[in-house]
Amino acid sequence: MSDAKEGQQHPLKIYLWIWLLLFVLSTFSYLVDYFHFHGLLRWSLIITFMLLKAGFIVAIFMHMAWERLALKFAILIPPLCLLILISFMAIEGGYTFLTRGAAFLR
């Protein structure tokens, strides 16, 4: 262990700040819907707030920021292959949409 204290001990202040930040970010993402933002602006705002929130939860609340790099790699790299699944399924969805259009809307 790198420090003599048991487990993950950090000042309370960090948690309270992140907590507040999560509230603010959630309010922002709700306001995206409330103010009826549309198109690219809406999607980029939603994704930005989502990734920020997810990042803070994993890094601070789940203590990933203080773990050793071996554990970070073991947990954070495998989900990247899901990006392949997501892009394949997006392409496939578009194809299905086109064939449905060709078959039903003639």
Binding site: E6, Y30, M50, M62, A70, I75, L85, G93, G101, L105
Partner: protein, 224 residues
Amino acid sequence: MAHDVQAAALPPLRQVTEDFASDKQAFSVPWGKAMMWIFLLSDTFIFTCFLTSYMNVRISTTKPWPHPSEVFSLNIGGQDIPLILIAIMTFVLITSSGTMALAVNYGYRRNRRYTVLLMVATALLGATFVSMQAFEWTKLILEGVRPWGNPWGAPQFGSAFFMITGFHGLHVSAGVIYLLTVARRVHNGFYEKRGSYETVEIAGLYWHFVDLVWVFIFAFFYLW
């Protein structure tokens, strides 16, 4: 442990090769924590599969997708407020994540009273979340949403909704039971006797993950 102190001084990438290649335990965390992380990794794949299939049916349907903003609006004081219940549920879950983070902290400080109180508060907030979800399901079912159809458009809406929120709600319900079980053991001094509060942190990992999944559901299902 002398070896770890030595390894900590190495550059980060050398640390990784040291950790994996040396004939020793790869992860310098309690085994329960490593296992919880690996379980959460597998859970990530399950939830991503659900969200990806939702994306796929939403892209491929030729019928218009119902507007979540209107479907999930509530009439309060004669006014339709969009997504208000979902927003409240989001805040309830974030609050519970905060109380859980503090519970882990007080556990390591050996403050049993605060740890128990904060864990019970977390569990209560979780139960509140599930109750609100039950209310939401009841409302939608009464309005005619079924896994095979709904009054507003693409029939896939219902199956995606019930599958994703149902599986998440199941995780929250299981988490409430899990937290109360651990809180009981904190209360009766089980971890004090064992001399380690890592179980509280492991339970915290699970709880934060449930909150994490909700962040993605909120963005992709409710806001998109």
